[in-house]
Assembly symmetry: C2
């Protein structure tokens, strides 16, 4: 909390904080982290991950569809987004596709999110 001009003496056209204090996060880092948050920013995706977490490795698309308030193409769409984000993987057995969580990838996201949020509150 150094490098600060007293609010009382502040004059028009000046900045209260030194430049260095304000810019500790690059736009690229902010973009990457916001993507980490965004993938969790949809109720259907949260429910999918929750279900996969509770049924390690043996949930197929039709099971998810039966429990979710959206149609099958939408389920597949969100599964694809989660897969492209690396949070889940799948294995085909016959007609069925069994999805499961990539725990290491989720843990990495969780660490990044935690590292950002902890100093804030």
């Amino acid at each position: 909390m150094t490098n600060r001009i007293d609010i009382q003496e502040r004059t028009l056209g000046t900045r209260c904080c030194g430049d260095t204090l304000l810019t500790h996060m690059t736009p690229a880092a902010a973009q990457e982290l916001s993507d980490d948050f965004l993938i969790f920013g949809h109720p259907v995706r949260l429910q999918i991950l929750d279900m996969l977490g509770r049924n390690g490795g043996q949930v197929c698309v039709c099971d998810l569809e039966a429990a979710l308030p959206v149609k099958q193409p939408t389920v597949s769409h969100h599964l694809r987004l989660l897969r492209e984000a690396g949070l889940i993987d799948c294995e085909r057995k016959g007609l069925w596709a069994y999805y499961f969580i990539n725990h290491a990838a989720v843990a990495r996201r969780r660490a990044a999110i935690r590292a950002y949020m902890e100093p804030l509150g």
Copy 2:
């Protein structure tokens, strides 16, 4: 991992998991939690919170604007979203509006996010 039908014996038109295993998260809870993630799902908002966190209580809009890659109306827009989400507050002093983090609100979000993510990975 009970209540499970062996994949091998699975027949067409059946479900692999019992209903109760799949539906442990209500759509309403999922919606609320996804909103918690969404407010962090934008690079400018992440940078704003980061700057406020490092300069407790004495950052005005023009300072933010100077450090961010967007124009002043956009900064005000994101500040409004953060304020409506309860994550920040502001205090006017003369011409300037000084923004600061609502640490308790951030802590609540952090706890909710952590409680969701921890069992996943």
